[in-house]
């Protein structure tokens, strides 16, 4: 009887999901209620989790709860600690979910809500969550080894090196693009800038409190920090109305970019307890709290989606970034669907905390589904805006025109009605001077969130909600920036240590300063170019980041597929093999188009050539001619970087194919590095 009800229950979940999905896909009316998206998403996740992940866990990975995990065998009370599954889930989710799933869907909404939503759901259930779970499983069976080490042990030295270089370069691009998102959110916004600036001393105060005033009292210190952060949002509004103070925090993009660069350097050199660790606590609470609040607000409000299901921009002419639906929607949304970066977390801290192999499915697969849900909410927040407003906020001035009137005429010409008065009214309601051409996704997400949260929790507080959303995004973007710069520094020190051992010492001050400066200069360069680029920079950097992130995912899936083949599970290796083939297809196509397309909004070389011809012909306005040489150089550099990423990807995949061929030919391959079975004493 119980079995019957269980079957009936799951059948209704499947039917409800199918109906909701069909409605989402077929609806072509005036608007669609966001509840349909939520329902479709939740049902897809439930079915994927209950059936697909359970099948993989039992039949492909053969998860064995009687086998002792590294946390149990190597328990040292420090990094290897058997931990409650919900606590590990929380740690893992907080580590994988950053600003990526918020920014990607916001940008991809230019194709309409449907393509991005489908990719987020299908990509997560069949790709991203599988990658995370399998990587977590492989690492748990190997004492928590990193992706690079596993690639080296299982496939060959080439894969390991590629994973390491890939990670380093992704970090540089990622930090640059995130820095750009923050700069664009702070540009000429005294309220936003002062609030973001206030997070630095607040984090330091929390750091001192935890370290010296009341050592180890993490929750007390965090509570203090959260209260101060909320106060800083309110106080920012006061600054905004103060003539002298407002002027102090009102800046162009370039000085803001230089402050972010200087901040990044300071954060990498200062001790972690002072800035990085406390900021991370605050950003984690903010992230979890806001995501939860947004979910409640969407359920409560059930907002209508105003963006069409599919826009004409699937032909590649979109204002936010150039390029057709295939492959660019799959590149733009990496985090939320499949993100290679997760493989680094799933093969880092998390496997050392897992008490039982039985928890792997919930943590690896489950946490990715939750991140995917965050991406769906970001998609909803972007598409509840009137399309005209969405395009006015997100289109760079270089595409729609610098003057407000030009911009609204261009956008209204596409069929998305918007007026200057409407935009001015919205900007003043949000407490900003303008919302035109605020590229990067953060301002439009903040407007979307403010309108959702404002309706539920107080309409007159729109400006407060807007700046709360900006602060919320900025605080964990800056955490990623701090943490990424520091990781980049460690990796660089590790590499330089091979040349000169002294440089490899993480406590040797000249080396710390040198390597930090090099890493900051790396992302600082891309950030600088992004700021001076009249097309906004995001349209160049975000696809580059997407390609790099998908490359890392392909490396992780290659390692997983290779291990499955080697361990005589050839017939089931498609669970990672098929996502791998799909990633190879989209990443290679996207890279090919970014390098060789003759469309100057897509192809890097074409853009460089076009700009140099215009420069030589003297048709550029003086302010554009001044930066043209740097933009030309950058386009060429980006083209070579893209080629490098895709070459790296193919090297790893071919190395895996070579190993598999040897296995099929019964030639010797590297033995499995799996640790032998030890019975768990916990079951």
């Amino acid at each position: 009887m119980k079995a019957f009800w269980s079957r009936a229950g799951w059948a209704s979940v499947a039917l409800l999901g199918a109906a909701a999905l069909a409605h989402v896909a077929m609806a072509r009316g005036e608007s669609l209620n966001a509840l349909w998206l939520i329902t479709a998403a939740v049902c897809v996740y439930l079915i994927g989790y209950r059936f697909y992940s359970a099948w993989i866990a039992a039949n492909v990975l053969a998860i064995d709860a009687t086998r002792a995990t590294p946390a149990e065998r190597l328990n040292n009370g420090r990094d290897y600690v058997p931990t409650n599954r919900w606590v590990v889930f929380g740690h893992h989710f907080a580590a994988i979910a950053g600003p990526g799933p918020l920014v990607g869907p916001t940008l991809a909404a230019q194709f309409g809500y449907l393509p991005g939503t489908l990719w987020i759901l299908i990509g997560a259930v069949l790709g991203g969550a599988v990658q995370d779970m399998v990587t977590l499983f492989l690492s748990t069976r190997r004492n928590g080894r990193s992706l690079g080490q596993m690639a080296r042990d299982e496939i060959g030295a080439i894969g390991g090196t590629a994973a390491m270089i890939g990670t380093f370069l992704i970090m540089i691009i990622l930090i640059a693009v995130l820095g750009l998102v923050v700069v664009n959110a702070m540009k000429h916004s005294p309220w936003g800038t002062s609030t973001v600036a206030a997070t630095i001393p607040i984090a330091m105060l929390v750091g001192v409190y935890m370290r010296y005033l009341r050592p180890g009292r993490v929750l007390e210190a965090s509570l203090l920090g959260v209260i101060l952060l909320l106060a800083s949002v309110v106080f920012g509004g006061w600054i905004d109305h103060h003539p002298v103070l407002a002027a102090m925090f009102d800046h162009e993009g370039l000085p803001l970019a230089f402050s972010v660069i200087a901040y990044g350097f300071a954060a990498a050199v200062l001790p972690v307890w002072l800035l990085l660790a406390p900021r991370d606590y605050l950003s984690t609470y903010m992230k979890l709290g806001t995501v939860f609040m947004l979910a409640i607000a969407i359920l409560w409000l059930r907002p209508e989606i105003h963006m069409p299901a599919i826009t004409p921009f699937i032909d590649g002419t979109g204002p936010i970034f150039g390029g057709k639906l295939f492959p660019f929607v799959f590149i733009t949304i990496a985090c939320g669907a499949i993100s290679g970066f997760h493989a680094l977390i799933a093969s880092g801290t998390t496997p050392k905390l897992i008490t039982s192999e039985g928890d792997i499915r919930m943590i690896g697969y489950g946490a990715m589904l939750l991140e995917s849900f965050v991406a769906i909410m970001a998609m909803i927040a972007a598409t509840v805006l009137e399309p005209g407003v969405y395009f006015a906020i997100n289109s760079p001035a270089g595409v729609v025109g610098k003057e407000a009137l030009d911009a609204v005429n261009t956008i209204s010409g596409w069929g998305y009605q918007v007026t200057v008065e409407q935009m001015q009214h919205l900007a003043s309601a949000m407490g900003e001077s303008t919302l035109f051409a605020r590229t990067g996704g953060a301002p439009s997400l903040a407007v979307g969130m403010a309108s959702i949260l404002g309706t539920v929790f107080g309409e007159h507080l729109l400006a407060l909600w807007y700046h709360f959303a900006i602060m919320f995004e900025a605080i964990f973007i800056l955490t990623t920036l701090d943490a990424g710069t520091r990781v980049g520094r460690f990796m660089l020190q590790d590499m330089l240590g091979n040349l000169h051992p002294k440089l490899g010492e993480t406590s040797y001050t000249p080396s710390v300063i040198l390597t930090s400066a090099l890493v900051v200069a790396g992302w600082g360069y891309f950030l600088y170019i992004g700021v001076i680029d009249p097309n906004g920079g995001v349209n160049i950097l975000w696809p580059l980041f997407g390609i790099a992130n998908q490359m890392l995912a392909a490396i992780a899936l290659s390692v997983a597929t290779g291990v499955l083949i080697k361990s005589s599970k050839v017939g089931k290796a498609w669970i990672t093999g098929l996502p791998l083939i799909w990633l190879l297809a989209i990443t290679t196509t996207a890279a090919y188009e970014k390098v060789f397309s003759s469309d100057i909004r897509v192809g890097f070389f074409a853009a460089a050539k076009d700009l140099s011809q215009k420069l030589a012909g003297g048709v550029l306005p003086p302010e554009k001619a001044a930066v043209a040489p740097q933009l030309i150089f950058n386009q060429q550099l980006d083209a070579w970087l893209t080629l490098f990423f895709v070459a790296m990807l193919w090297v790893v995949v071919l190395d895996m194919a070579r190993m598999s061929r040897r296995y099929f030919a019964r030639l010797p391959v590297r033995p499995s590095s799996e640790v032998a079975y030890v019975a768990s004493r916990l079951v």
Partner: protein, 64 residues
């Protein structure tokens, strides 16, 4: 019943944030090192927290 669940949640929150890390360290210490001849005295709360925090931040801890 309700207080039991509240306690459970509070315990998870403390564990997730690391608020109880020192207590867990002391428990681990008592379980493994105490009574052994070469054992050092357990670290003080401040000393333990320093090491815990530094170690927590080595390696890739945050993603995109």
């Amino acid at each position: 019943m309700r207080t039991y669940w509240l306690k459970q949640v509070w315990q998870r929150v403390r564990q997730l944030s690391g608020d109880d890390a020192y207590e867990r360290y002391l428990a681990h210490y008592a379980g493994t090192h105490a009574g052994q001849p070469e054992a050092h005295a357990p670290l003080s709360r401040a000393e333990f927290f320093k090491q815990w925090q530094d170690q927590k931040w080595t390696g890739i801890k945050r993603c995109c």
